[in-house]
Amino acid sequence: MAITLKVNGVAHSLDLDPATPLLYALSDDLALNGPKFGCGLGQCGACTVTVNGRATRSCITTVKSVEGQEIMTLEGIGTAAKPHPLQQAFIDEGAAQCGFCLNGVIMTAKAFLDQNPKASETEIQRAMSGVLCRCFTNVRMLRAIQRAGRVLAERSAR
């Protein structure tokens, strides 16, 4: 059936089984590289997108349940020319190894920092406790999120 998904500000009408997990619509029908299949169980975070600003695991979220809502993927938060502060911070900190988890890490951090621009180191750590990086780039990634947090806090203070 026709399902309308609003992704990164653009509405797409797709012919989908309403039970299809959102992840497959994004990565297959819309050919987006950001959201990734890690576990299909909502345990690792690799598939994370934001839905109306909330971090959402797209591998266990049906397309029907998010129809018409504002879905944002990693592609939607910034570009090479105009990166989001989080994206820039990850580049500046060299915070990647294989990079497979980055989508989930950055999107989870974005949703959190948007709600908590003045989060402490401990609060950030706690917010990232449901996300995996099996290369264990933890040191740099948490540092990058803190760096981006400072930038975002300054912006919100202006």
């Binding site: 590289n33 890690g38 299909g40 980055l102 706690r126």
Partner: protein
């Protein structure tokens, strides 16, 4: 003669290009079947470097980027030796249509293989000298009066008369052999190599533009899903294709012996078809009880036995000793547990195949896929695309076979990504180990003899050049894994090789009149029993070396404690290898190590206990050196270990990219910590039960991470050594030793779960 200088002399004497690789890792390479025919010749410059008429430089490498940062370092190497700006170098790696066959990207071999006196480094140096000669002819000036910079040659002092590389070569090939005498730049002259050049893949990774193998989309591509057996050893009786007839978009049910899969138009359709497909399976072969598995290993008499070293006097030394110490260490099967389950895309049409694979060995994958598909190897084109970090033999090879088989069955491109469960239940696990150690100490507290006897099960391995049955898909489709031939008793060791770190660093292994170990203890015996594993096994980051080092470095701590010596001082007293000594001293110094015996002091029976521990390794005996000081807090009530600080000293020879090296050390330290504290493959009577992130316990991104400090010992005068497995190898022992220091309780079984910690604390009190 030290090991390093003997190796260098060998390189100088041999001048052979492939030798540098095979010498470093002879047993592993032999097991893999050796290099495959058909690749661009290793001794030809054009196999490695191409310069276009516009001066653009393309370098070809057989060592791939898995996330470890080797691609940026390789591009730096080419830029440095060829004297071109870093941005002008395009690096292409691991494509059977284009790149040399450098076997696997594995075993900490990329830095040694491509940064020493052969292969990519020597190719770039050969190219620079060839271009200088061309310019010499063109300018009618001797090479000694020429300068080279930014991809152009000019008379010294006259940069305006420069001739670009593109113009010199005119878009032609070099048609030269690699020159073993082409002069490498000395590290003192480096401007690109040795600097922290950022990884060029970062912007695409953070913007979602990077193409992983998971993102390869071919025109007309279909989606496959495999159905693995419900139990280890279960076989197919029958498949009821009518059970999925109503699934929209279903293209085909594919059965080949015990391999079962489905192909559909869309991923969700394939998932539903795989879930619904009715298959009758025979019962599995049954599994030994998880709780008794170490006893099961010890009781196995069908073993293949190998002496790694034997001074043949350990019985006598142990009998004469003032004290004999004994301990048994246990290491479970652990998994690679890649973040993304493995994925591949194959397009098999008639007698030809194009395969996008995250495999660590494209040429081996080409040959074994050809076997599986019944095609000629030269008609199979394997292109590496990065997968999720693999840390060794994860599901990359097996899922490539899955995609190839399904694509062949439908004659269209097929993408397959494994489920989380299929990734975790059927991958080639890192080996379990049971290690018995005995040491003799004299009346002055000197360590005089060391015995090691270990048991480790294995089944399968990397597929190599001809064994697709070494991973689950090949086996299900009808191929056999490497044969297992019991052998007992073990023959006397013919030579010394510490590739698996089975021989403790403290032994002076004496073979054929030369001392090859890293230590001073003359009396030693190392006996290894290999046995058949019920599960698939294969290399997992620091294979065997991590398990052996955990046991040896923990036991060394036990010996030091027994003789009431400081653990650092006692190690140094028994080591002879200068580079290993240097990393131990550097780590201790950076950590402000307080010299005293462990445990710290009689502490309270509850609350938080603090301690520090050290561990060190000469990785593979001579492929990088590291030492770690770990500081921990042990909660005596909950049994929880909090690692507060890790100080790692590392020496991998000349440092090619210090930021990349730090990244590897930091990641390795934390991955080693996760493996030490939580990771263990579990099973019931018939199947693996650690099949997701609730049942296999990895540390998450946001935990209370320790402060990690790296001390990088740059050794520009030495050979380039491996870097990616240095810190992970020493993490478990450093943590366990710190727990002993804090509590006086010894942890001898990984993982160090709170329950095990509490048991050890209770045992110490009893």
């Amino acid at each position: 003669m030290s090991q390093a200088s003997s190796r260098r002399d060998f390189f100088k004497a041999s001048g052979a290009l492939i030798v540098s690789f095979s010498l470093r890792n002879l047993p592993e390479l032999r097991a893999q079947g050796g290099p495959v025919q058909g690749a661009p010749p290793m001794n030809q410059l054009d196999s490695w470097i191409a310069i276009a008429a516009d001066g653009a430089v393309t370098a070809y490498s057989g060592k791939e980027e898995l996330g470890q940062g080797i691609s940026v370092a390789q591009a730096q190497l080419v830029a440095e030796e060829l004297c071109v700006p870093f941005e002008k170098v395009k690096l292409i790696y691991c494509d059977t249509a284009l790149t040399p066959d450098q076997a696997y990207t594995s075993g900490s071999q990329s830095h040694p293989a491509n940064f020493n006196h052969a292969n990519l480094a020597q190719a770039a140096a050969t190219a620079r000298e060839a271009l200088l000669k061309l310019a010499s002819q063109r300018l009618s000036l001797p090479v000694t009066q020429l300068s080279v910079k930014d991809g152009a040659v000019f008379p010294m002092g006259s940069p305006s008369r420069k001739i670009g590389y593109g113009a010199l070569l005119g878009g032609q090939r070099f048609q030269l052999a690699l020159d073993p005498n082409a002069k490498r730049k000395t590290a003192a002259d480096w401007t690109v190599l040795g600097t922290p050049v950022p990884r060029p893949d970062l912007p695409a990774l953070v913007n979602g533009q990077f193409e992983f193998v998971h993102n390869v989309r071919l025109p007309g591509m279909l989606h496959g899903r495999v159905v693995r057996p419900p139990a280890v050893g279960a076989t197919v009786i029958g498949v009821d294709e009518s059970s999925v007839r109503d699934i929209p978009g279903l293209i085909k049910v594919v059965v080949r012996k015990n391999f079962v899969g489905v192909v559909a138009q869309k991923p969700w359709q394939a998932i539903q078809a795989a879930a619904k497909l009715k298959i009758d399976w025979n019962a599995g072969s049954g599994l030994p009880a998880h709780a008794d598995f170490y006893e099961h290993m010890r009781a196995d008499k069908q073993t293949r036995d190998t002496f790694m070293t034997d001074s043949k006097d350990t019985d006598q030394k142990l009998a004469q000793a003032a004290a004999v110490l004994k301990a048994t260490y246990k290491h479970p099967y652990q998994m690679h547990g890649s973040m993304g389950s493995s994925c591949a895309v194959a397009d098999v049409q008639g007698d030809r195949a194009t395969i996008y694979s995250p495999t660590q060995g494209v040429w081996y994958q080409r040959n074994t896929s050809a076997m599986l598909l019944g095609l000629k190897p030269e008609n199979v084109h394997v292109i590496f695309r990065r997968g999720s970090g693999c840390y060794g033999l994860n599901g990359a090879d097996t899922v490539t076979y899955d995609a190839a088989l399904l694509s062949q069955a439908v004659g269209k491109p097929v993408r397959v990504q494994l489920t989380r469960k299929d990734e975790m239940a059927w991958e080639n696990y890192g080996n379990a180990y049971l290690i018995d150690l005995r040491a003799a100490v004299d009346s002055q507290g000197n360590l005089v003899a060391w015995e090691h006897e270990s048991w480790s099960p294995s089944l399968g391995n990397r597929p190599g050049a001809g064994t697709p049955g070494n991973v689950v898909t090949g086996f299900l489709a009808g191929f056999q894994p490497d044969a297992f031939t019991p052998r007992s008793p073990a023959p006397s060791p013919a030579g010394f090789n510490n590739n698996s770190n089975a021989t403790p660093s403290y032994l002076a292994a004496r073979v054929n009149g030369t001392v090859r170990g890293a230590g001073k203890v003359e009396s030693g015996r190392v006996l290894v029993h290999n046995l058949r594993s019920p599960f698939w096994t294969g290399p997992l980051r620091s294979p065997a070396r991590l398990q052996n080092t955990f046991a040896h470095e923990s036991f060394m701590d036990e010996i030091a404690a027994h003789v009431k010596a400081d653990p650092v001082e006692y190690r140094l007293r028994n080591l002879s290898h200068a580079r290993l000594i240097a990393v131990v001293e550097a780590a201790a110094k950076a950590a402000r190590w307080e010299a005293r015996p462990s445990p710290a002091r009689a502490s309270n029976r509850s609350g938080i206990a603090r301690g520090r521990g050290i561990a060190c390794v000469a990785y593979e005996g001579e492929n990088g050196y590291s030492a770690m000081v770990a500081e921990v807090e042990v909660n005596r009530d909950s049994g929880a270990i909090a690692v507060k600080r890790m100080v790692v000293a590392a020496d991998c020879g000349p440092i090619s990219n210090p930021d990349g090296l730090r990244n590897q050390i930091e990641g390795g330290a934390l991955q080693g910590m996760s493996r030490a504290l939580g990771e263990e493959v579990t099973w019931d009577g018939e199947k693996v039960t650690s099949v997701d992130w609730r049942t296999y316990h990895s540390l998450p991104l946001g935990f209370d991470i320790p402060k990690i400090e790296c001390v990088l010992l740059n050794r520009p005068e030495e050979e380039a050594d491996g870097a990616g497995e240095l810190s992970i190898t020493v993490a478990a022992a450093a943590i366990g030793n710190a727990v002993f220091d804090a509590t006086g309780s010894r942890l001898r079984q990984i993982p160090f779960t709170p329950e095990r910690v509490k048991q050890a604390l209770a045992a110490a009190l009893a």
